[in-house]
Subunit: 246 residues, 2 copies
C-alpha cells in the first residue's frame, strides 16, 4: 500500500505545493516531480525581489529551466487573469513540446493559490488527464503545529477564510469551533475588538511567516501581536469551543 | 530561508503526520524524524489487523522499536481516554529514558487525529518544549488533488466537519463556499437527499480511501458513490459557490 511509485510524465503539467517556507516540509512526491521536470514556473509578486517558492526548492534545482512569472498583487480579477493567461500559454507551449512542466506554489495548490487561474486554461489545451495536483502543507497546518492544541477533534467544525471582512468573521464565530483566518495582517486591530466582544481574545493564536526561517513570529492572544508589523503572511487561529461526540 | 535543518532531539516526543496513504506524501521532515527515532508508536484500531500508519512508513523503519497501540474505535470519551492514557505513559516513560519517541498518525496530527488525547497528558510530564508536531498531508487535500477545481479562491470560506449529522451539514451549506465532510461513508444516502434539495448533488465529489493504492475510488456527483460500500474513509467535497473579491 505504501510504495506505489508516482510516475512523472513527459508533456504533463504538475501544480506542486511546496509548503509554507522550510524546504523540509516538501513531500517526497513534490521533490520527485521537481527534480524530474524540465521547466519550472515560479510565481513572483510584482512587489518582491525574488520568488519565495523558488527559494524553497533551490536545493532540488539543477538543470531545469526556471521561469519566474511576475503576477500582480492586486485584487483585480482582470489584471490577475491576463497575467495568468500569459503563464498558461507558456506552460501549455512547453507541454506540447513534450516537456514536463511544474508550477510551484506556496502551501497547497488548491488552497488560495495562484494555480486557480491557470488550471482551467491549461485544461482546455492539454486535457485534464495531463494535469496533476501535488498537495502541500498549508500555512494553516504549519501555524497550528506550533501549539499543543489540536485544530479539530471529535465533531468540531473548522472554517478557513480570509480575515478581510469583520462582519463575515463575526458570523463565522457562531458556526464553527475553530476559525482560521488568512490575510488578516492588516485587520488585527479590528479583529482584536471583535474577539474581545465575545471574550475570545485569549483564544486566538497568531503566527506570522510560518516556517520562514528567522521571520516566524508566534503569539498566544491577539494583544501582543497587534504591535507586530510582520504584515501579509499572518495566520490567525481562534479556538471558539469544542463539539463533542453526541 | 529554505535550508534550516530540523533537529531531532533525545528525550523529545514527535507527533508525526504521515499523510493519507501513499508513502511519498510524507514530508522530508517526517522521514527525518521517523528515521532518527528510537521508539515509534503506531496506532491501530481494535478492528484492524495491522496499523495503517505503520504500513505507510515501513520503508523508513530499520532498528527502531515499534509499539502498535490498539485503541477503541467507539465514540466513547471514557474508553478512548483510558486507552490513550496508557499510550501516554509508555511514551513519557521512554522520553524520560532520553529516547526519541514518535507517534505516527494518518493525515495531520492536529486534524481529527488520535494525538489529540495524548498531547495534553504528555505535556504535563514532559513540558511543551519537548513536544513537536510535524504536519502531514490531510485526506482532504489528497482527495481534492484528484480534481482540477480548487478548494478555495479569493474570498471563499471552507468548512471541514464530520458528515454525521445532516441537520448540521444543512446549516453549513449556507455559511461556506466549499464544504468538506469526513466520516460521511455511512450517511451518503441522507447526504444525497439533502444535496438534491439544494440542487447541489452534481457539485459533490466523493473520494474513498484517498491515496491508498488499489483502494482509492473517485466519484463526481453523489449518486454513483451511493452504491459503493467503501465505507469509513470517505471524504466528500461539496462546491457550493465562489465568493469573489468585493
Amino acid at each position: 500500500m505504501s510504495s506505489r511509485t508516482f510516475q512523472v510524465q513527459k508533456g504533463h503539467f504538475y501544480a506542486v505545493g511546496v509548503g509554507p517556507g522550510n524546504a523540509d516540509l516538501l513531500t517526497l512526491r513534490a521533490v520527485n516531480v521537481i527534480k524530474n521536470s524540465q521547466v519550472i514556473i515560479c510565481p513572483k509578486s510584482a512587489a518582491s525581489r525574488s520568488s519565495l517558492a523558488l527559494k524553497i526548492i533551490r536545493d532540488f534545482v539543477s538543470d531545469q529551466e526556471i521561469i519566474e512569472h511576475v503576477y500582480p498583487m492586486q485584487r483585480s480579477e482582470k489584471d490577475v487573469r491576463e497575467s495568468w493567461l500569459r503563464a498558461s500559454d507558456i506552460i501549455a507551449g512547453h507541454c506540447l513540446q513534450n516537456k514536463t512542466v511544474t508550477q510551484v506554489t506556496l502551501g497547497d495548490p488548491h488552497v488560495y493559490s495562484t494555480c486557480a487561474y491557470i488550471l482551467p486554461i491549461i485544461e482546455e489545451t492539454l486535457g485534464a488527464d495531463k494535469i496533476h495536483i501535488i498537495p502541500g502543507i498549508t500555512a494553516l497546518q504549519a501555524a497550528a503545529a506550533n501549539f499543543i492544541q489540536p485544530l479539530t477533534t471529535q465533531e468540531d467544525r473548522l472554517t478557513l477564510m480570509a480575515g478581510s471582512d469583520m462582519a463575515n468573521v463575526e458570523k463565522a464565530l457562531g458556526t464553527c469551533e475553530t476559525l482560521v483566518l488568512y490575510k488578516a495582517g492588516k485587520k488585527l486591530g479590528e479583529l482584536f475588538d471583535l474577539l474581545k466582544k465575545y471574550n475570545l481574545e485569549q483564544n486566538a493564536r497568531v503566527v506570522f511567516n510560518a516556517e520562514m526561517h528567522g521571520k516566524e513570529k508566534i503569539y498566544i492572544g491577539l494583544e501582543k501581536a497587534l504591535e507586530d508589523q510582520s504584515g501579509y503572511l499572518a495566520c490567525v487561529i481562534v479556538h471558539i469551543g469544542r463539539r463533542k461526540w453526541g
